[in-house]
Amino acid sequence: MIALFKRDIMLAFRSGGGFGLALSFFLIVVMFVPFGVGADLALLAIIAPGILWIGALLACLLSLDRIFQLDFEDGTLDVLATSPLPGEAITGAKAAAHWVTTGLPLTLAAAPLGYLLNLPSEAYFWLVASLLTGTPALSFIGSFGAAITVGVKRGGLLLSLLVLPLYIPTLIFGAQTVTRAATGQDPLSTWAMMTGLSLFAVAAMPLAAALALRVNLR
């Protein structure tokens, strides 16, 4: 399991695409918002929490199809399925590797990008905290969507359509946490709910993903 986790991270670094791509995408989304809504700093401060969360979510979505697709195409998944690793360990390790290569960098990049959007200073801690415990949910829920669509050719669009509705509660609680922190309310309760959701996703989604993967390997 650790070997698979390590290899996925190594592959993300090697192939270049997955790792840098998500960060660049995040930067561009954040950069485009003032272009779209104007450079009024007061307005930006209000919408910053939502923009940062939606930007991180979309950047995460970009690389989801790589979780299983490449291994499916070159036969690695077939071999892994007959290896001593149980299916849940395969999907869990791969989702965890996805988080390390996208969720974690996005969390780290969020704070400087928040400054560009004039995020109130009280909110930085909660921005990082909410992304840190919220992005695992994005990776693990996303890995389920990726497992379902792995057999579909050009399934990227379908993957987004399946996964985005599943992201709704995470997005609501995550963005709400940052908004509350920015407006001087108590963000702890929303953060706790989102973290609970995240823990649930980490525990349950590998099972569902393994089930879907099994069906797709037939």
């Binding site: 379902i148 509660p169 609501i172 709400q176 509350r180 929303t190 959701l197």
Partner: protein, 242 residues
Amino acid sequence: MSVWKYANPAKFMSLSGRVLPVLTVLSGAFLLVGLVWGFFFTPDDYKQGSTVKIIFLHVPSAFLAINIWIMMLVTSLIWFIRRHHVSALAAKAAAPIGITMTLIALFTGAIWGKPMWGTYWAWDPRLTSFMILFVFYLGYMALWTAIEDRDTAADLTSILCMVGSVFALLSRYAVNFWNQGLHQGASLSVDAETHVDNAFYLPLLVCIAGFVLLFVSLVLLRTRTEIRLRRLSALQVRGSAT
């Protein structure tokens, strides 16, 4: 005699073929009576005026929009556990009806909202939940069309339906929470149906019965279509084999 014997396609076809005409006539009658009663013979509400007549469309469609998803969840589970083909096909057949009901609930809700709230669309928790339900239906139907192999499609859509149900429920709670967070003392909630006058109550019941009967007739009709298509492809496969 087990109820499962009707999960056999041939048995299902013969039974549903006999029941369907009766159900169609019944649903037509109920809908006609309920909607005519509701539209022509109910008084105006003292507060909402004639817009209260929208209730006869809005409430039954909203009721079905949610319950069709639950029915799909149950049939998905049956397919997953007992692998009855008819069950999976019934879930597939129900989805377009569910999405239509969701659309009706959304449109009638929005039209109702305009005179009541002064806007077609407000991010009211209920309306938002239906919007979310709509995208869940979209994803489910898209997955059915994307996968070639029928058993694989049935398996994957039923997994999606199960996981989706959990997240749809979570979304509902999250949306309630989120809206309270934004508009304190929300005045825009659509809770008219929780205290309905007797003058509206009876025709509403007839309308709900009519919608449910219409759904059952349509789902039978569509399931029969799916079974025929399934048999068609099975015959074609066998034909090409010999």
